[in-house]
């Protein structure tokens, strides 16, 4: 009973809660039970909000009992990436420096979830301050990929993606700065959407890189992602970069699932050498499938994408070096060495030494250097120029095609520990996803099968112009419908049962 419940889609759960076939408390309890059963192994969660989640669920059930009309996802549980503030729960960003910090306000995304009667189960694990592509940089230990617990679940939103793949939550929220929603989505066989920059509010999202960060939906299927996207999207006066424009009809597009007549560009620069054969194969098959569904496929060149990774690793550290300056031990979070003898500066240094992990320190130092007066033009300034060129590549491409596609990641999930000593190899996991962040347009990853060589999920990335998020769902839903017909069900139906793995692991 419980296992079946946790394997249902969010829209199915919501429908049954709305009709009274299931209560939200029942659904929530089933997911809490599942978390209790498997999260010791997966470690998707940093904080589980058992009592409050059940209270929320009971409140939804009471509303239904009182005859109130419920929203499309009312009563459905969700896992929230621990980089968004939620009062009453600690927000740690996967860092020691924020251990136990209780934010006094809700992020706009959090508030919109609560207003939509979505039940928040807890906060999910991530690479510290969302810096990483494997969730190994969390100060609280890595998350494991439910497909193979020796492997990474992607990063930085590995906790959110793993929670979905482990059936601990039917919905999750991630944040995508360079691929942190899409790349974990790809390597866990789930759907991850990075909305148009400014399409979802950053208020209450602890900033990694302000000009890149974008909260977005994570789900196990396209319609669930669209429903969740609609809940969190829309203008927020508290975020100056939030776009004051109507949200496109993403749910309609997800239901339409129609690519006939769509012009789809395959990005020449994202593929070929350096891409795992299984990734290439599943990607090529998916493109052929889209063509068979009536899409017009063309090859498109985006020449400046080759410089995207380099530009990204100057812009991101520059912004994060400034954004993280507030973690100074003075007003919140960790404080080390405050013995009444050390100066404020010494306490700050000791706290940062103890509170920040290696990757965070690395990026702060790179960013501080890149912004310094003698090097600004050579590094940060140059990177911004490249960023403009990448945006122009997209503009030129979107003048000819409706969407662009590529593999989401060059490889499937790598093994835990495999790339920890090689930051460059780690950064390459986000090779395909970074251009969309630099340009601010919409993009998403959809599962397209398992790589033959290792049996691990492969994702296809769809990129759309800013504010054309609906096109992502149109493509994703068409693919999903056709692929599930081939597979005879969801890709996640093929995931090994975690309890078995757990036994094997012991």
């Amino acid at each position: 009973m419980s296992a079946e419940l946790t394997h249902l889609t969010a829209s199915a759960l919501a429908a049954q809660i709305a009709t009274g076939e299931l209560s939200s408390v029942q659904v929530t309890q089933a997911h809490l039970d599942r978390i209790a059963a498997v999260d010791d192994l997966v470690h998707a969660f940093l904080h589980i909000d058992r009592d409050r989640a059940l209270d929320q669920a009971a409140a939804v059930d009471a509303k239904r009992a009182a005859g109130e009309r419920l929203g499309p996802l009312a009563g459905v549980p969700l896992a929230l990436k621990d980089v968004l503030t939620y009062t009453g729960a600690p927000t740690t960003c996967g860092s020691k420096i924020l251990e136990g910090w209780m934010p006094p306000y809700n992020a706009t995304v959090t508030q919109r979830l609560l207003d939509a009667d979505i039940v928040i189960l807890g906060k999910t694990n991530l690479d510290e301050f969302a810096m990483g592509s494997s969730t190994e940089n969390s100060a609280y230990g890595p998350t494991r990929n439910p497909w193979d617990t020796d492997r990474i679940p992607g990063g930085s939103g590995g906790g959110s993606a793993a929670a979905l793949a482990a059936f601990e939550a039917p919905l999750a929220i991630g944040t995508d700065t360079g691929g942190s929603i899409r790349q974990p989505g790809a390597v866990t066989g789930t759907v991850g959407v990075k909305p148009t920059y400014g399409g979802t509010s950053r208020y209450g999202l602890v900033a990694l890189a302000s000009s890149l960060d974008t909260p977005g939906p994570c789900a196990r299927n396209v319609l669930d992602a669209a429903l969740l996207h609609r809940v969190i999207a829309g203008h927020d006066p508290r975020d100056s970069t939030s776009i004051d424009a109507p949200v496109p009809d993403i749910v309609g597009a997800a239901r339409a699932a129609d690519v006939s007549g769509m012009k789809i560009g395959v990005v020449k620069e994202l593929g070929g050498e350096g891409y795992a054969p299984g990734v290439e194969q599943r990607f090529t098959e998916a493109v052929a499938l889209l063509e068979s569904l009536g899409a017009d496929i063309v090859e498109v060149s985006c020449p400046h994408f080759d410089y995207a990774l380099a530009a990204y690793y100057l812009i991101l550290p520059s912004e994060c070096s400034s954004n993280l300056a507030k973690f100074d031990a003075m007003r919140f979070g960790l404080r080390v060495g405050d013995d009444g003898v050390l100066s404020a500066e010494q306490v700050m240094a000791a706290t940062r030494e103890a509170g920040f992990g290696a990757e965070v320190k690395r990026r702060i130092i790179i960013g501080t250097y890149a912004l310094s007066s003698g090097y600004y033009d050579a590094y940060y300034g140059q990177a911004q120029k490249v960023r403009t060129l990448i945006a122009r590549d997209f503009e030129a491409a979107f003048a000819d095609v409706d969407v662009l596609v590529s593999p989401t990641t060059p490889s499937t999930a790598f093994r835990i520990g495999e790339r920890v000593d090689d930051p460059l190899a780690m950064y390459k996991a986000d090779l395909c996803t970074i251009p969309s962040n630099l340009a601010g347009n919409a993009s998403a990853s959809f599962p397209v099968g398992l790589a033959p060589e290792d049996g691990l999920p492969v994702g296809l990335q769809v990129m759309a112009p800013p504010l054309a998020d609906d096109r992502l769902y149109r493509v994703g839903a068409a693919l999903e419908r056709a692929l599930e017909a081939q597979w005879g069900g969801s890709l996640l139906d093929r995931i090994p049962e975690l309890t078995t793995l757990q036994e094997v692991a012991r």
């Binding site: 890189a209 300056a325 912004l371 600004y376």
Partner: protein, 504 residues
């Protein structure tokens, strides 16, 4: 010699310094805007609230919080720019100025760096009848920091303190920083020009109603850059920046002090170090602060949390059309209205008394009487206490009331001075002070008659002179009567009684 002084003060006189060098000034004035809410959030900006009661996640810089620009602050900045004849940027951005400061919650300040909202303007000030044109480099927006209070140390500074308290009520209050181009050619008048400029700005900002411009509360603060160059040379010398000069008088004194200090060093063959300096009000000297060579690298970059500011041209023109009368124009107008002589008007300007006189006249006083009180009685008190003219504790309304009492014959000028004392001492309104101190003049003939008799008896020689037709000799008798009655006699009536008695 004070502990702060770097060189003996008497090494070089001001005149000697100016004989050898031309001063070049650059003035940076920080203005706290009087918007109801802060620069990037909705918190109140009211002065004097209990610590940390006017804060939110945004102005506390809490993780996840984001700034949103206050449109009213943009409007005020544009109006300031327009009033200073600046160009208004069609498109500009905020930048982050990254540095650590204990009371700056984000550890960066949102400021404008290379894209100020207003730039390339000018204004004029008048000193001793001469007009000086002052170029305005830029007027840009930024947010204020919080305030620290260091408890337990001897100096009130962080070093040696037992602990520090932080108040973030001021954190995020909007500031506009107005930066001049180098001011050259003021010569020996440089200190007066600096003071006149700040006074003019204060009047202008008050006229625009964009700031409370209270220097003593820090809503108007001036940093004064000064360098010297030998006569006939073109290159600027090395400058120093004296921070946070907080009164008009201090602006003048600080510039004057830096001129002599730098001149003494240069004459002695020394070099000026580029540094910030602190102004010490009590000692009248500056002392070295941070050296600019080791200054932090602010790592400016465009603030990614804010979209650019692009004021529409229509809006800018609307704002231009509603600007109040410029101070210079106003001065020309009031001097025509008041019919002061050129010399009188110059004294008024030098004393910074235009506002005070205008307000006093508006309260019903004649211009000449208003000028008299502000430039004599009140200027003397301001000078004695080392405060600005408007900080003497007497309002223009009260000055008008005192003059009305004089004109009604209730008091004379001499008694009026005591009324000023009473008003300043908080004894109430001028009328209440007159009653409270029993200052009304004696004009009752009975009481005066006895004193007049006594005076005549005591001074027979003088009385004879008056009897003999030397009426001007009556002054001595009037003086005697005044002395007898403690100054509270109606002098006009005493004179009449004496003449009546001796010649009538």
């Amino acid at each position: 010699m004070t502990p702060h002084a770097q060189v003996p003060e008497a090494v070089l006189s001001y005149e000697e310094a100016l004989a050898a060098f031309d001063p070049v000034m650059g003035l940076e004035v920080h203005v706290e805007l009087n918007t109801a809410s802060k620069m990037f959030c909705g918190c109140s900006t009211e002065f004097g609230a209990s610590p940390n009661t006017q804060t939110c996640p945004v102005c506390l810089g809490l993780p996840g919080s984001l700034p949103v620009v206050n449109a009213k602050a943009i409007e005020s900045a544009i109006r300031i720019g327009l009033a200073l004849n600046c160009s208004i940027a069609e498109w500009c951005r905020f930048s982050r100025k990254n540095y650590f400061y204990p009371d700056m919650p984000k550890n960066y300040q949102i400021s404008q760096y290379d894209e100020p909202i207003a730039f390339d303007g000018w204004t004029e000030v008048e000193v001793d009848g001469e007009t000086y044109r002052i170029g305005i480099e830029r007027a840009h927006m930024e947010e204020d920091t919080g305030k620290s209070l260091h408890v337990g140390g001897a100096t009130g500074r962080i070093h040696g303190a037992d602990y520090s308290l932080l108040d973030y009520n001021r954190s995020g209050v909007p500031l506009v920083e107005i930066v001049t181009k180098p001011i050259e050619g003021a010569g020996a008048k440089a200190p007066e020009v600096a003071k006149a400029y700040v006074a003019m700005l204060r009047d202008l900002l008050r006229g625009l109603d964009v700031s409370d411009v209270r220097m003593e509360q820090g809503s108007l603060r001036c940093d004064a850059n000064l360098s010297l160059r030998a006569h006939g040379t073109v290159e600027f010398g090395t400058r120093t920046e004296t921070k946070n000069v907080n009164s008009l008088r201090s602006v003048e004194r600080a510039i004057r002090y830096e001129i002599t200090r730098q001149a003494a060093i240069l004459t002695d063959g020394g070099v000026i170090h580029m540094e910030t300096r602190h102004w010490h009000e009590n000692d009248g000297v500056t002392s070295p602060g941070r050296s600019k060579e080791s200054a932090e690298d602010y790592r400016y970059f465009p603030e990614p949390d804010l979209v650019p500011v692009a004021p529409s041209r229509e809006w800018v023109e609307e704002l231009r059309a509603t600007l109040p009368e410029p101070p210079q124009q106003r001065i020309r107008r009031v001097s025509a209205d008041w019919q002061f002589s050129e010399l009188e008007m110059r004294d008024v300007l030098n004393a910074g008394a235009v506002n005070a006189i205008e307000a006093t006249v508006a309260a019903g006083c004649s211009p000449q009487a208003a000028r008299k009180w502000w430039l004599t009685e009140l200027a003397r008190r301001a000078n004695e206490n080392g405060v600005d003219l408007e900080a003497t504790g007497v309002t223009p309304q009260q000055v008008a009331e005192i003059q009305a009492l004089v004109e009604a014959g209730t008091i004379n000028d001499k008694l009026a001075r005591q009324v000023f004392d009473g008003v300043i001492a908080g004894e109430g309104s001028p009328a209440e002070v007159v009653t409270g101190r029993g200052l009304a003049v004696v004009s009752d003939d009975g009481a005066l008659g006895a004193a007049v008799e006594a005076a005549i008896e005591a001074n027979p020689g003088v009385a004879d002179k008056v009897r003999g037709g030397k009426v001007q000799a009556a002054g001595a008798l009037i003086g005697a009567v005044m002395k007898e009655l403690g100054g509270k006699a109606d002098a006009g009536r005493v004179r009449e009684l004496i003449i009546e008695k001796l010649t009538g």
